[in-house]
Symmetry: C2
Subunit: 410 residues, 2 copies
């Protein structure tokens, strides 16, 4: 099945929004054994029609996102009907749903809005439970005189498209007789090691396995190794990866580092506190993003100004003067202070120079000390240097801190 995704929207080509549809559709379709062969972004307006026309005869499955709304630029519905030479018929059932939604928001239904209830003859309506414009499914060769692919017209807003896809598109796809997926995907998420090191350790051995597709994806403080192939090749590859990367692998799926940690702490009935200077709350934010974090996260301190280090965490003024705010000793004292004040099992502390200002010759921008206090062991402090932009610095420092804890939990 040759699959093409067409994303419509001038805002995409003006750089105003990221195309998250592609990511979503790719993952959903892969699970069915389908891969997207090509994705095209076009502006609102006539390019929608010509691009859709190009796919006829060159694709089996086409997904179009956007262009179903009420404005004059929203021409996806009309373009599809025209290419398939189908009449648009006003559907009173769809209209009733549109009207009721508008009345709920106390907005008047205009002529333009009514267009959303014009349905190409023979098309299947995909209900939109999170917006007004319904989606449409036009099966392959719906008009026997036109050779056309299976065509799914989906709404532009992700919070409308995603539930519609799961609830209404997936059941239709399951009836299309897609051949059983022979390939499976496995992902190994690695931290504490750079991309080239990971590649050096496993690359050549994995490339020698026939039928295995290998990919790397590097993010701040993380490398994902992706394998696609049949079960036997994957098992062979997994043995190599596990032997070479061992505990540097923190997840074999979609779980991120903070999820892994919250899960371990929950199981052990242990708790965590944070004392952040340079990460400025990101560490707490990441942990509290995880549902159920309230059972393990005791409290966080964002000690930015020097005197807040003193008052919140009990790091003395003279101590700070003598050691400096960005120092091994201060990181140590912050972690101990946070743990004592919260009675948490563990406390992580960060102090460093995120930049762009504040660096010195001995402590350049990017310097960071990370400390881990624990009920079970002496307080650890590690020094790192991440000379990158401010946001990446915070990301790297928080990732490294979480990994320090993960290693202690092993």
């Amino acid at each position: 099945m040759r699959t093409i995704v067409i994303n419509t929207g001038t805002e995409l080509l003006l750089g105003e929004v990221l195309n998250t549809h592609l990511t979503f559709l790719a993952r959903e379709l892969f699970a069915l054994g389908l891969r997207i062969d090509r994705q095209i972004t076009v502006p609102d307006g006539p390019a929608i029609r010509s691009t859709l026309a190009e796919t006829f005869g060159h694709a089996d499955l086409v997904f179009v996102t956007g262009g179903l709304g009420p404005t004059t630029d929203d021409i996806t519905r009309d373009a599809a009907a025209e290419l398939l030479r189908l009449e648009l018929r006003h559907d009173p059932d769809v209209m009733a749903i549109v009207t009721s939604r508008f009345s709920k928001f106390r907005v008047a239904v205009t002529q333009r809005v009514a267009r959303q209830a014009d349905i190409p003859e023979g098309a299947q309506v995909l209900p939109n439970n999170n917006g007004t414009a319904p989606g449409l499914y036009l099966r392959a060769n719906l008009n026997p005189k036109v050779s056309s692919p299976h065509l799914f017209l989906l709404p532009g807003p992700p919070r409308e498209l995603q539930p519609m896809f799961k609830e209404f598109v997936l059941p239709i796809l399951s009836t299309l007789g897609l051949k059983e997926a022979v390939s499976e995907r496995r992902t190994y998420r690695v931290t504490g090691m750079g991309e080239s090191t990971v590649e050096n350790l496993i690359g050549e051995k994995l490339l020698a396995i026939p039928g295995l597709e290998l990919g790397y994806c590097a993010r701040p403080g993380e490398v994902d190794v992706r394998l696609i192939g049949a079960g036997a090749a994957l098992d062979q590859a997994e043995a190599i990866i596990t032997a070479a990367l061992g505990h540097f692998i923190f997840s074999r799926g979609d779980e991120n580092l903070e999820e892994v940690i919250v899960k371990i702490l929950t199981t052990r009935n242990e708790t965590i506190a944070t004392a952040e200077s340079c990460t400025g709350g990101l560490l707490a934010h990441r942990i509290t993003n995880i549902p159920g974090a309230s059972a393990v996260f005791r409290a966080g301190y964002v000690a930015y100004a020097n005197d807040s280090k003193i008052t919140s965490l009990g790091v003395g003024a003279r101590f700070l003067r003598e050691n400096g705010a960005v120092s091994e000793a201060t990181a140590h004292a912050m972690a101990d202070g946070a743990r004592e004040r919260t009675s948490a099992t563990y406390a992580l502390a960060t102090t460093g120079i995120a930049g762009p200002c504040g660096g010195t010759e001995t402590k350049p921008v990017g310097t960071v000390y990370i400390a881990l206090a624990s009920e079970h062991a002496d307080t650890l402090v590690r020094q790192f240097c991440f000379p990158v932009d401010r946001e990446t610095f915070k990301q790297l420092a928080s990732q490294t801190a979480l990994n320090l804890l993960r290693e202690q939990l092993l």
Copy 2:
């Protein structure tokens, strides 16, 4: 100038990474008066060649990202040379740079890596200061026997592509005699008002202005209104927008809400502290993302467990029992406690139920109380309900809190 962007990379079509290149290139090109007419994503491998071939005769400017690396799937360079019928020549200067970069990372230079120094005859090398693979510029009709567009081959990693574009591509584009940009873009960032309300207030009046292109972009807690047009139409539109939306507009450019606030506080020499329960550190994280935040941000408390509300912020145990952790009174006490303890000019506090668990009949998931304590005014508390997923909830609650402060700073 018809402009096409081709993004190569199997990882994009597997949904592993978001395409940030399109956003970056769109914004950079718009500033030169260029708009991207079409963007195509193709997997690594032979589709790169066929898709590039399609653009010949149909585009004036083509940007290709990715496929310049050392692996067998990286065929962008070869495909371009083949289509233009140009020889690849090994460039010793480029090779010296590649070798020196590898030796810095103590990685051996393999045969494969050496391919990166193979340059199509007549192509201009775009140095890569943040990676090994150089970019390439092949001017239009470089081989007079082939009708070809201006072709820019750029590396895949954003941190390599972006600086290369700014340093080496922009100067080349400036020599191509692009006609002066007649259109200008203005953006108005609005908060405290939903998308449909914004549209109701300004939509019809703006659509009546000839030559004006109007767009909306809704994000959590924010609506951006985008105008494109000539100066006179924009001025006319701006008057309408300013009259209708007034102080709901927090920015007329790229500045986000936290930047606006840090800037105002810096100018006034005032400071802020945070006491977060349900936003779990996001408020502090957003403020500390802004360079220079250390001058205005005193300290943050992430009071997650009940007893941390007590110890850090001086909210009494009995008080909490009587009022509940998620209540107007507790939000009030948290804000006051944070301000007293840090001597900040302002303190923001959040307490609520992010979900998915923890809701009750009277206080459902999504309930949040936001308080603002101030040196200049009585402490304010506002109640909201954002019944959405956990991360969007945190985003909305932090946005609303920041806006509460912005309104007081007006």
